[in-house]
Symmetry: C2
Subunit: 246 residues, 2 copies
DNA sequence: AGACTGTATGCTGTAGGCAGTTGACGAAAA
DNA sequence: TTTTCGTCAACTGCCTACAGCATACAGTCT
């Protein structure tokens, strides 16, 4: 009777690998948050989520803690979990920090550049340009993420990589409602970046990445800042048992 | 019969505030890790910890997840938790990222400087110099942390603050075995930094902070790198049915 | 009428327990 | 002696249940 909804995801490949239920719950909840089904500021009652997903409260609790660690929900001890309410200011800060981390990554990547790494970057860049020329927006966005992730990876700094990944995940919140990419210009900057990395010119690579990410940042911000969901700390229960109005 | 050991910490101020047991467990385990009682690479059996701390496995599990989020332990699904094994390379990366974040914080702090903030920095700096002159090493270290934290805070970038806090906590791992501070010179740099912030010279403030933190970083690294605990993925059990000590 | 207190309900935090799986030890075979 | 397989203890992941607290509603007092 349990695991009704997640059964297909979690319990099916039961033998294949011990994918903890909590991670399926994590994904499910994250999807509900990003999609807007669970709205910012909303109180997340464990029992409700447990029933909704067909699991017990334990995996829910653990998933909520993971989500809290990544900034998706806020945990108020004794009061439960609330969907984090993103703000334009936070988006700005997030993008600023991401720009900072990526800039440093570009610098380090140029410093430790390898032929193999540069080749991977060039391949991705080609695919990206092809996608743009084919008007494949989704593809270009995906390849763009992959390229940036590869630069991060080539930096060789695990701490930097982890932090950047964390920040990038949180940026995803604003990704959906925002326009995607800025076309060919972006990919020409990528080309210049890769050239700088290949030549080992760390400062130049950093400079290019800085301009690149700051450009993207301003693009985001110009499109953001209209709608602003604000819910300070709403009452835990919507209502008690009377229909009432509000 | 439960909560024997943590009773004094957690259950005593029970009414004062609902401090979840998990946070007491978090602190207790962190202390055990930093102090070296739990050694790098060691497998942490939930039942053992539960019995040791006198609580059930649930708060232990949750505390372990929190610790994992901050990089203190590694969680291997299905295999349990292992104390993270720090390396000199990781220390280097950690310090490098921290330098990066603090440099940016100094830049932002200079940009948004306020009289009140500058006053707080100056006060801390005075206290720090006094502590140094009085040969109060511990005091100077504490004030140093506070000063850097204040610069971070004055940056006004919450995301940056959170990330830096996270990184700084992890640096603490290497803090204990490493010598503490470098005396007056450090505090003169602080003075110059505060002046730059007060005048709103963002680039200068960033430059000073960069040199300052890089200096500290090299100091750390020169003192590090001798002892290097390495334990890839040891057997889960020390023995099978021996009485065991811990 | 408004403020305060008592009461009820839902929630969180924690405990305890069960099933499945992992990994090691020991025996048997090559 | 070395390799392979069977057996088994212990651990993780999950579920269920309970105690305590927080909040909202209702009744009472001023």
């Amino acid at each position: 009777m349990s695991r009704s909804d997640l059964a297909g995801k979690a319990a099916a490949p039961k033998i294949a690998r011990p994918v903890p239920l909590r991670e399926s719950v994590f994904d499910a909840l994250l999807e509900l948050i990003i999609s807007g089904h669970l709205r910012p500021g909303q109180h997340l009652a464990e029992s409700e989520l447990a029933e909704m997903l067909g699991v017990s409260r334990q995996p829910i609790r653990e998933a909520l803690q993971l989500l809290s660690g990544e900034g998706w929900v806020d945990l108020h001890p004794g009061h439960g979990a609330f969907v984090h309410a993103p703000t334009a200011e936070e988006a700005d800060q997030l993008l600023g920090v991401r720009a900072l981390l990526e800039t440093e990554a570009a610098r380090l990547a140029a410093r430790n550049h390898t032929d193999e790494g540069v080749a991977r970057l060039r391949a991705l860049c080609s695919r990206g340009l092809a996608a743009v020329d084919a008007d494949d927006i989704d593809g270009a966005v995906a390849i763009n993420s992959e390229l940036h992730a590869t630069v991060m990876e080539l930096s060789g700094n695990t701490v930097l990589i982890d932090l950047a990944a964390q920040v990038s995940r949180r940026v995803r919140w604003y990704h959906t409602p925002v326009a995607r990419q800025r076309g060919r210009a972006s990919w020409e900057e990528h080309t210049a970046l890769i050239d700088a990395i290949a030549r080992g010119e760390a400062d130049l690579a950093a400079e290019i990445m800085k301009n690149h990410t700051e450009h993207t940042r301003h693009l985001y911000l110009s499109q953001l800042g209209e709608e602003e969901p604000v819910q300070p700390l709403p009452s835990r229960r919507r209502k008690r048992r009377a229909p009432a109005s509000l």
